[in-house]
């Protein structure tokens, strides 16, 4: 019995919370608005008449509802979040404060450009940092997230091929260890995906790649450091081979946090790379977004960047919004409404200015040190998937769990009870039962020691050999125990619906539905 043995189902500070629809009090509102002045109506015959069905709640109830919901979440503010390839680092509140300055928050995307010179300057300053840190010729700022940036890079590549009469190239080579967005993006760019195997050492199989580099290949997409937490040591040779074959080299920048201030990706021969501002440059993840994925481009690709982009004229900034007019004819089109993810730019620029180049370099150094320190400590019981040092994240396989009856998933769920967010599990796919951990630079040694001690204790417990049942029952102490995903998928319930009832008002039926 792990659910609280209380009348309410609550357990002290852990309070059950009904849906807003079940708390509905008709006619209640949390916003008092001025009376509507009497005017003509210009709605034609299109007035909405039937009830919409939105629940009504007074302000205190709304504040309590969302406060209680928030308390059911794990977050970087409350604990260690070693999700591999996610770069869950501290989110300074300075960035939030800056994004809320009226001069940034209260400006409209279609004001006259003379009234938004500061906003264009923010975008330009961030763009200059990103090109300087990567050594690249240009940057397309507008992509909204990593996957969107990947698409931006591939569309630049496709446009460049078409401009050279190389439109027949329709194959994109992607290592099998890649994140799922890479093949999905290649499809959206109109390309076919072919998989490149990994070597036993966790790197791209260069020989296999080279053998496949024929004249139908448009691009190679490689994550570097890769999802095994390893730097692709043959990166420069790969780039040369890709270029010699007439293709372009896309580098997935999801793991750029390991490289900032240490190497310029232009020096690795890269043609395009997106940068996840919501990973490397501290835009908060917000339970799923928003992010931004500016895509840096080599000189060969920069002209194909989509609109809009900031143009620095003498003494004033402008914005190019139309292909073939204020933007060149080569620009491949538009990917995002308005002026890009400006609020994210403000946060990331604040973060970058706070750290500076010395701080950024120290940050990537500490990120890699923290990962290697975890690797060293955890190797006492866990089995690293690859020998040698790692970059900013470390992956273990499940060899150490063999014969225990305990799986990677069970370890993750047991960590929840210990107060830690689990690592990324079963990814990359090339590592059996993978446990991928990325501590980031914003964790102290004391936190890493606590986490390592907890995980090592769990490992020793698992290795006793008779603990499978105990692990399968984890977590016991979280707001919920393991949830039935099969049930959720077999008969999807994706929205609340009122329960039919003969008696009582809306509120009455709704409360019934809660039980």
């Amino acid at each position: 019995m792990t659910a609280a043995d209380t009348t309410t189902g609550n357990a002290g500070l852990a309070i059950e919370q009904a849906l807003i629809f079940e708390q509905n009090t008709d006619s209640a509102t949390g916003v008092d608005l001025a009376p509507v002045p009497h005017t003509r109506r210009k709605l034609g015959a299109l007035e909405r008449k039937a009830p919409i069905g939105l629940p009504g709640m007074a302000e205190p109830e709304v504040v309590r509802h969302y406060t209680r919901l928030s308390q059911k979440n794990y977050s970087i503010d409350t604990g260690f979040y070693p999700l591999g390839s996610c770069t869950m680092k501290h989110n300074p509140r300075l960035n939030e404060k800056m994004a809320r300055l009226p001069g940034f928050a209260e400006i409209h995307p279609f004001q006259p450009v003379a009234t938004v010179q500061g906003a264009l300057e923010v975008t330009d300053q961030l763009a200059k940092w990103l090109t300087a840190l990567t050594g690249m010729a240009g940057v397309a700022m507008s992509p909204a997230a990593g996957a969107h940036g990947e698409l931006c890079g591939l569309l630049c590549i496709r446009s460049a091929h078409e401009a050279k009469g190389q439109g027949h190239r329709r194959i994109v080579l992607v290592p099998e260890s890649a994140h799922g967005t890479n093949p999905a993006t290649a499809t959206l760019a109109g390309y076919q995906v072919e998989s490149i195997p990994a070597t036993a050492s966790g790197h791209v199989d260069f020989a296999a790649l080279k053998a496949r580099l024929r004249n139908d290949v448009a691009a190679v997409m490689i994550t570097n450091p890769n999802t095994c937490g390893l730097f692709e040591t043959e990166c420069i040779e790969i780039a040369a081979a890709v270029h010699a074959a007439g293709a372009y080299f896309y580098m997935d920048g999801a793991n750029f946090n390991a490289l900032v201030g240490r190497v310029r990706i232009a020096d690795l021969g890269v043609d395009a790379m997106h940068i996840n501002l919501h990973k490397t440059f501290s835009q908060p993840h917000g339970g799923g977004g928003p992010g931004a994925g500016p895509t840096v481009l080599s000189a060969a690709l920069a002209d194909f960047a989509p609109v809009p982009f900031v143009v620095a004229n003498a003494g004033a900034y402008g914005v190019a919004e139309h292909v073939g007019r204020d933007a060149g004819k080569a620009a491949f089109g538009r990917m995002k409404g308005f002026q890009g993810q400006f609020g994210v730019y403000v946060r990331s620029l604040s973060y970058i200015l706070a750290l500076g180049i010395d701080g950024l370099r120290q940050a990537s150094g500490d990120a890699v040190l923290n990962a290697n320190y975890l690797r060293a400590k955890l190797s006492a019981e866990l089995t690293p998937a690859f020998p040698g040092l790692c970059m900013h994240e470390v992956v273990f396989d499940d060899t150490w769990l063999k014969g225990t009856g305990v799986a990677t998933l069970d370890i993750a769920k047991a960590l929840i009870d210990e107060g830690f967010h689990p690592m990324t599990m079963y990814f990359p796919l090339v590592v059996h039962g993978a446990l991928l951990m990325e501590p980031t630079e914003t964790e102290s040694k004391a936190t890493l020691d606590q986490f390592a001690a907890a995980l090592l204790a769990l490992a020793r417990r698992a290795k006793r050999g008779d603990q499978a049942e105990w692990f399968k029952a984890a977590p016991r102490l979280a707001p919920r125990r393991r949830l039935d995903e099969t049930k959720a998928a077999r008969k999807p319930v994706l929205r609340w619906r009122p329960v039919e009832s003969h008696a009582g008002g809306n509120g009455g039926t709704a409360r019934q539905a809660a039980e």
Partner: protein, 126 residues
């Protein structure tokens, strides 16, 4: 009723009175885990040996079911979309996916029999 034949993609096929019944093997369902969604082809759909014929999904995996031979769909198992768990419970019986004509019966000779499939599975598990 003829004997079962198998593909390397873990489909089974059984010829029954001039019509072939197709499903996924018990091994395939065990690898997928709890099956949550099945899409079966409609009657009349033309199938090519090795071509995509149906879809099967668990919570964490999605997979195509390929036609073992060439032919035309005679009937999809309409009970499956509402009860995908049938595939877990009885993959090689009530969990059949579709029935099809034998466009080119000699294609059956290229498929594995039970002994060959068992050997193939043993190699996979090794």
């Amino acid at each position: 009723m003829s004997q079962l034949r198998f593909t390397k993609d873990h489909e089974w096929i059984r010829v029954d009175g001039g019509v072939a019944v197709v499903g996924i093997t018990d091994y395939a369902q065990s690898q997928l885990g709890d099956i949550v969604f099945v899409e079966v082809p409609a009657k009349g759909k033309a199938l090519k040996a090795g071509g995509e014929a149906a879809v099967v999904e668990s919570v964490k995996a999605a997979s195509e079911v390929y036609a073992p031979i060439t032919g035309e769909v005679v009937e999809g198992n309409v009970a499956l979309p509402d009860a995908p768990e049938t595939v877990n419970q009885d993959a090689q019986g009530a969990g059949w996916f579709f029935k099809m004509t034998l466009g080119s019966p000699s294609e059956l000779d290229g498929l594995m029999d039970q002994a060959a499939y068992d050997k193939y599975l043993a190699e996979l598990k090794a």
